[in-house]
């Protein structure tokens, strides 16, 4: 059914995804934290997901593979991956998809690896649990992947424990681990924010090159637009649980249409003269429960007008851009069934 909906090159298609958390207090309603997220990811594409903390980036990533904590729940929407709707799978089927078809790279490699096992044990465990090959073969695969991520002397490194490697090298190991099962998609959640500046650029370029060379699609999550600006083909800007703008990265940073994207770029320190005061987006992101029937950005937007306060903007889809803003689409017509751009 999904194959008829999506062209064959589409790897991941998220449609109108609503996720909420079960409230601790029975009298409080459950409020959606992700509020209708739709996007598509082609095979081999590098897609960046940019947003502030609390915008729902990590929740979106974990919702795709349903690796969130038990209080979160997908209320509505679908996640089609390779023709399957992941929201309909049993937890056993999901385990097959996680790791095997979708690899994850997390923020802090130190907590992502088990400190009590050597890298070899962890890599082999990861390979052998999903693939039916011998230990010796698995070891060769692991060594090969470690060489791919430029770990010097992988044979000796493999016998070491995580604390014996630097953070940058550990992050390479986790990238290698994500790649060992030859997944179709790698989700990297802030892969460099625990690393040093000089390491950041290197890890990002390693990640994007490896994905490119192996034909693996990449969903790169970051809070830093300038970090992903040169590492992604397309970019999603997320704000308060919604995607406010998406498009090709180059055109998006050169010609941002949503006031939030514009603000993010203008607020970068290099955008203003040293010593002068920076452009700042006033205020802060509203919490999910504070949002009524309005544009989520209205309280911080310098262009906000009456319509912004009375109804949420609809998505305007042009050939290569998708924006949710009343400024771009001033006459809010009844929302057409949104077709994400290709």
């Amino acid at each position: 059914m999904s194959l008829t909906l999506n062209p064959p090159t589409t790897l991941l298609s998220v449609r109108d995804l609503h996720v909420n958390f079960t409230s601790r207090w029975p009298q409080e309603p459950n409020i959606d934290v992700l509020r209708g997220v739709s996007f598509q990811l082609e095979r081999g594409e590098r897609l960046a997901l940019v947003g502030e903390s609390g915008a729902g980036k990590s929740l979106l990533a974990t919702s795709i593979i349903q690796l969130f904590d038990t209080s979160a729940r997908i209320r509505h929407g679908s996640v089609h991956f390779e023709g399957q709707d992941l929201t309909q799978l049993s937890s056993k089927q999901l385990r097959q998809v996680r790791g095997r078809r979708i690899g994850m790279v997390f923020q802090d490699p130190m907590t992502n690896l088990n400190p009590n096992l050597t890298l070899e044990q962890q890599l082999l465990q990861c390979i052998l649990s999903h693939r039916n090959i011998s230990r010796a073969e698995a070891r060769l695969v692991a060594l090969h992947k470690l060489r791919q991520v430029h770990i010097p002397a992988p044979e000796t490194r493999m016998r070491q424990y995580p604390h014996q490697l630097s953070a940058g090298q550990l992050q390479r190991v986790t990238i290698a681990m994500a790649l060992t099962l030859e997944p179709a998609l790698i989700i990297a959640d802030e892969p460099t924010s625990a690393l040093d500046v000089t390491m950041q650029a290197e890890i990002i370029s390693l990640l994007t090159h490896l994905c490119h060379n192996n034909g693996v699609a990449l969903l790169l999550i970051s809070h830093d637009l300038s970090l992903v600006a040169h590492a992604s083909d397309r970019c999603l800007i997320m704000y308060a649980g919604q995607i406010v703008e998406q498009g090709h990265t180059k055109s998006l940073i050169n010609d941002a249409q949503h006031p939030y994207t514009q603000g993010l770029i203008r607020a970068l320190p290099q955008m203003s003269q040293p010593g002068q005061s920076l452009y700042q987006i006033p205020g802060q992101m509203p919490l999910a429960q504070e949002l009524g029937n309005q544009c989520a950005f209205a309280n911080r937007c310098e262009h906000a007008f009456a319509a912004c306060w009375s109804q949420p903007p609809t998505r305007t889809v042009t050939l290569e851009r998708e924006v949710s803003c009343h400024l771009v689409n001033p006459a809010p017509a009844p929302a057409p069934p949104a077709e994400p751009e290709l």
């Binding site: 390491m199 320190p269 700042q280």
Partner: protein
């Protein structure tokens, strides 16, 4: 004539290292990791001195040493000509009120059980027990307004605030005792991009209003370029380059500075691959032998023979610019031949 507020001379500090290799019965063999290696720096009244460097270069240790949270092994820290580094807690008291600190993680820097108002009023009442409570509360509310926190938030606990609000509260608390010198350890790194601009503007505004002097530790070069008057680059516990902002960003001399600048993500220019360092930050293995030569020698693509056996000294190039690198200065007598490579 600008007056020197803080001066640090030939400072050394090392920490006892957890020793993974030695057996448990070997109690006496404590090894040490040097964090600060003969550092000299001075801060002039009214300026903003930014210290940049990666994690592990000794930034946080230096901040703690300046604030008297740790005692140096050797060397002195003096404030307005008075040596404050060896003082007892009691003798240090007058300086506590003149120098304050803003921490990296605004959440852990606030006591989770104290409301915002409590956190601000507490230091006042502690130092002036006779102060009328209402008076203290009024001062706290005024300070909150000055840092842009609405009075309604005064009764909140830290976990009820956003990251930017927490950092504003931290700044307000530091300002409650009316200091003239503020040390900030990575004040932006825990904040979102759109909030970083707000805090940068706030710091600049407070500086001009209250004639504050800043010593700011950061790895965010874009922010440093925006706010610094002078910039010191730190590597392995030493200053490797110090210059005025314009000179450092337009004519960096030290290979490490160049690498840092190249690694700093820029939204419109793709990352520069020419100045990349090889390898990682040296794994902080306890000193087994005294290392000779430049501490960057293993990562520097331009390292030559002299770098292997002679430690470069910080040498002024111009009045505003000093570098510790053999490439920018003639080697001292013994290293007479540096024929090879570049």
């Amino acid at each position: 004539m600008t007056q020197t507020l803080l001066s640090i001379n030939n400072l050394y500090k090392s920490h006892a290292a957890p020793n993974h290799n030695s057996a448990w019965w070997n109690l006496r063999k404590t090894s040490y990791i040097s964090a600060i290696n003969g550092l000299d720096i001075s801060v002039k009244r009214g300026e903003t001195l930014c210290v940049v460097g990666e994690s592990g270069c000794g930034k946080s240790t230096l901040a703690r040493l300046v604030m008297g949270l740790e005692k140096p092994d050797a060397g002195t820290i003096s404030y307005q000509g008075e040596i404050i580094s060896g003082l007892s807690d009691k003798a240090r008291m007058p300086y506590r009120r003149r120098m304050q600190m803003v921490f990296q993680d605004p959440y852990t820097a606030l006591n989770p059980r104290h409301t915002v108002l409590h956190a601000l009023v507490d230091p006042l009442l502690y130092h002036q027990p006779n102060l009328h409570r209402q008076h203290a509360v009024d001062q706290a509310m005024a300070q909150l307004l000055a840092v842009g926190i609405e009075p309604a938030l005064a009764q909140r606990f830290p976990h009820q605030l956003s990251g930017g609000q927490r950092q504003r509260v931290n700044i307000a608390r530091a300002l409650m005792v009316e200091p003239e010198f503020i040390v900030a350890d990575e004040p932006l790194s825990a904040l979102d991009v759109s909030i970083q601009a707000q805090i940068l503007n706030l710091l600049a505004q407070l500086q001009s209003q209250q004639q504050l002097t800043y010593l700011i530790f950061s790895h965010n070069l874009a922010a440093v370029e925006h706010m610094a008057d002078r910039v010191a680059v730190m590597y392995d516990g030493q200053v490797c380059e110090i210059a005025s902002r314009e000179q450092l960003f337009s004519q960096p001399q030290h290979p490490y500075t160049k690498a840092l600048l190249a690694a700093s993500p820029q939204i419109y220019t793709p990352p520069n691959k020419h100045h990349r360092l090889v390898g990682d930050v040296p794994n902080r293995i306890p000193l087994r032998h005294v290392q000779h030569g430049c501490s960057l020698q293993d990562r520097c693509p331009q390292a030559f023979e002299t770098c292997r056996h002679q430690t470069p000294q910080l040498t002024p190039l111009t009045a505003q610019h000093a570098v510790a690198c053999h490439h920018t200065q003639p080697p001292v007598s013994q290293g007479n031949s540096h024929d090879s490579e570049h």
